[in-house]
């Protein structure tokens, strides 16, 4: 039976990463890349090339600056902040601005049912339909389980604003998804 890695092991891994162990980096990449990738993917309303580019960039940056981070702080908010900045930059300079069409098929699937596909589409569309500041907060809370305070810090807004946006997001989503609830 495998046991989840203890904080100690986590720290060991970080130390190895810091020491420049490529294996540790690869492991780190495997552990966190899906999160970063999906964050950008959702943030950009389904632009997967952009999400791939940005997440790649984030990890290279992280590697370059791996000595500058606090070993004991959770790394997710940091990576997401980096991803967000990279995304904003990319979006500024690129034609990425135009929202890409949502992908045709769920990436995970070979044999999704039709109604399931339709539902996923609806979910994707509703998320994309949220106003950007609201969507951003929702993504961080729903998919990355960040606390209000962490989100506030990341985005440079107040906790109150975070809560207001999340609550707005839910109410909007409820309307957008009313056919499916």
């Amino acid at each position: 039976m495998r046991t989840p890695s203890s904080p100690d092991e986590e720290r060991q891994k970080r130390l190895r990463l810091r020491a420049g162990d490529p294996e540790a980096f690869a492991e780190f990449f495997r552990q966190y890349q899906p999160g970063v990738l999906n964050y950008v993917y959702r943030l950009s309303s389904g632009n997967s090339p952009l999400a791939e580019d940005v997440s790649q960039q984030v990890f290279l940056n992280f590697w370059t600056h791996r000595n500058e981070y606090d070993l004991d702080k959770p790394v997710t908010p940091l990576l997401l902040t980096m991803a967000r900045n990279a995304w904003l930059n990319a979006a500024k300079r690129e034609e990425y601005r135009k929202t890409s069409e949502l992908k045709e098929d769920g990436a995970s699937g070979i044999d999704h049912h039709l109604d399931r596909k339709e539902l996923e589409k609806a979910i994707e569309k509703s998320l994309a339909a949220l106003e950007e500041p609201i969507r951003e907060v929702f993504i961080l809370s729903r998919y990355h389980e960040l606390k209000y305070s962490q989100i506030a810090q990341m985005l440079g807004i107040s906790v109150k604003t975070v809560e207001a946006r999340l609550s707005r997001a839910l109410q909007d989503l409820q309307k957008l998804l009313k056919d499916y609830l």
Binding site: M1, R18, P22, E23, P34, T76, D115, R142, Y143, L181
Partner: protein, 597 residues
């Protein structure tokens, strides 16, 4: 306790997102109990929250950016070489010298001029000590390095992302050798393949595959060298893996081919050049093989037979005198070594190659109503680890529909040997929406939970069925119950077969004691458990041996099959419950009578 309805939405959001204090929760629950409008709002928002959890996650095609050349393999190769021929040793040492910053050899060849991240030097002194004094100075042709540090579990070959090279920075840590230059250029990911290295470069052995999952005690044997295997470790050509009892290891090749070596098994001679191959010395393996290039089948050898595969799912088990091959998909050629008799085994057929035995493939018993493989991850996966993918389980179904459920059982502990009393209610609910996948955030995760899949199939009393689960739990844990059931939770009308710690038990749902019970050591190898049910009879078999045969206490005409696991303890994040293959067969009365004897 008073609260304004206008605050409800915010408070609900706070609660759903895990930001509510217990006081917040109290206030909210109190208010919801007395305010219908807000209770409706709560239901709506909570449903939206749950549904959004099904936002499909994208899987990356990207690999970890290449950051520095890995040293591990070099060392392991060195170790192997030391045990082998002397000339090999010299070559390997030459390699290791050239790849480490050796102050004495100033002109280390630079293979390429692309910017690379310098390899932060961490070569341990012990390795340097082993290098013989006669450091060869002779130049060597540039050679290929083994691939990138590791491969993410996703597909790796097609269209790799080009990692943008990071300019060398001055802040590489712990460089004890200021003179040391990065001497190795990285291979690009495009080159990461099983293509053989150019001769003469024994040190440039390609990585055959890497270990993607380790459970329990798994050892790597390389020459005389024995070392524990860890996840992420690369396998060099000729590598051997041995699993202890209860252990398991999964090996991932770079085309996505997966081989799982089960408990108490030994596989060696892993190769990738000119076609993947390995030898199963003992035990059992299962494999899911990606489509192989024409003319380069993957070859599984045993002492008695050889199977050549171009892309399939199969399982292979070996005893001292015979080899059994079961093919799920595709076609596999099996050759008996004794007499070179060979036979093509196509999907859903099996064959046993043993001395003097018929090599005719037999159908894996016919009329398969349902076959499922529970792919990785099982327990856990994304949704326990941060909500990335709400599907902790992925199912691939071959026919008909199947849904997978992650259900929460919030109130009742499963102690006392009783089936949960609210299961019927849950079964009703979940059946209303066949595709509903509940998603649980971390805070919702209950102390005891079950995970189930159900398949409703029309079942006439006249057509007996046989349900087979293979390798259904890797754990040996008294607090864990793994079950398969028909009409789960319908009191008096359901039947369940459970493994509780060391015993197998047959229950009628709602009963207070099992119909039948027998001690059965925890499954440590390939285990299959079967439940045969007809109008009058119930037969329970384990590993092709009939354990119980009795009358069917139920009067049911149609059934819902579910599988699940309950655990009374706090579930760890990457706990797994396994139901690797589930088959439901339509069978015949005659067959049932046969096994009932």
């Amino acid at each position: 306790m008073d609260m304004d309805c206008r605050a409800s939405a915010d408070l609900i959001a706070r609660s759903l997102s895990g930001n509510a204090s217990s006081q917040d929760e109290d206030v909210l629950r109190g208010h919801l109990a007395s305010c219908g409008a807000c209770a409706d709002l709560e239901r709506g928002l909570s449903a939206a929250w749950t549904l959004m959890g099904r936002f499909p996650a994208v899987a990356s095609r990207a690999e970890a950016p290449v950051v520095a050349r890995p040293f591990t393999l070099g060392r392991r190769v060195w170790a192997a070489a030391a045990a082998a021929a002397a000339i090999f040793v010299i070559a390997a040492v030459a390699y290791s010298l050239r790849t480490s910053p050796v102050p004495a050899s100033p002109q280390a060849p630079v293979a390429r001029t692309e910017p690379v991240v310098p390899a932060p030097e961490e070569r341990p002194a012990s390795v340097a000590v082993q290098e013989p004094p006669a450091a060869p100075e002779k130049p060597q042709p540039p050679e290929r390095v083994s691939p990138v540090p590791a491969v993410p579990e996703t597909k790796t070959v097609a269209a790799p992302e080009k990692p943008s090279p990071v300019p060398a920075t001055s802040e590489v840590p712990e460089r004890k050798e200021p003179l040391a230059k990065p001497v190795r250029a990285e291979t690009r990911p495009q080159e990461k393949s099983v293509v053989p290295a150019p001769v003469p470069a024994p040190a440039a052995l390609p990585v055959v595959a890497f270990v993607s999952r380790v459970e329990g005690e798994v050892q790597s044997l390389l020459g005389a060298d024995r070392s524990p295997v860890r996840s992420g470790q690369k396998l060099a050509p000729g590598a051997a893996l041995e699993t202890a009892k209860g252990a398991q290891v999964e090996v991932l090749f770079d085309d996505g081919t997966r081989v799982v070596l089960e408990a108490d098994s030994l596989a060696d001679s892993f190769q990738a050049e000119g076609g993947k191959r390995l030898t199963l010395k003992r035990g059992l393996l299962r494999a899911r093989i990606a489509k192989q290039p024409a003319g380069e089948p993957m070859i599984f050898s045993t002492s008695t037979a050889e199977a050549r595969v171009l892309g399939t799912r199969l399982s292979l088990s070996v005893t001292a005198t015979s080899t059994r091959l079961e093919v799920r998909e595709g076609k596999v050629r099996l050759t008996r070594k004794d007499d070179n008799a060979s036979v093509d085994v196509s999907s859903d057929h099996f064959v046993v190659a043993g001395k003097g035995q018929s090599m005719a493939p037999k159908p894996i018993p016919a009329k398969l109503a349902l076959y499922e493989t529970f792919d990785l991850p099982r327990w856990g996966g994304g949704w326990l680890q941060g909500g990335e993918a709400n599907l902790g389980i992925r199912l691939a179904t071959e026919n008909g529909s199947l849904s997978i459920k992650a259900l929460q059982k919030p109130t009742q502990d499963l102690g006392g040997g009783k089936m949960p009393s609210d299961a019927a209610e849950l079964a009703r609910k979940t059946l209303q929406n066949v595709n509903n996948v509940a998603s649980l955030s971390r805070k919702d995760w209950p102390r005891s939970a079950w995970l189930e899949t159900r398949q409703a199939f029309a079942w006439s009393n006249e057509a007996p069925i046989r349900i087979r689960i293979r390798d259904w739990n890797s754990h040996h844990d008294p607090d864990r119950i793994v079950w398969m059931a028909l009409n789960h939770g319908v009191a008096g009308q359901g039947l369940s077969l459970e493994r509780r710690g060391d015993s197998l038990q047959l229950w009628v749902e709602g009963g207070t004691s099992p119909v039948w019970k027998k001690d059965a050591a925890a499954p440590q190898e390939w285990e299959s458990v079967e439940l045969w049910v007809s109008k009058d009879q119930v037969v329970l078999r384990r590993n092709d041996e009939t354990l119980y045969s009795g009358s069917n206490p139920l009067k049911i005409k149609a059934a819902v099959l579910s599988l699940g696991t309950n655990a009374k303890m706090e579930l760890a994040q990457d706990e797994e419950a396994r139901f690797d293959d589930v088959d439901v067969f339509l069978t015949t009365k005659a067959e049932l009578d046969e096994v009932a004897r």
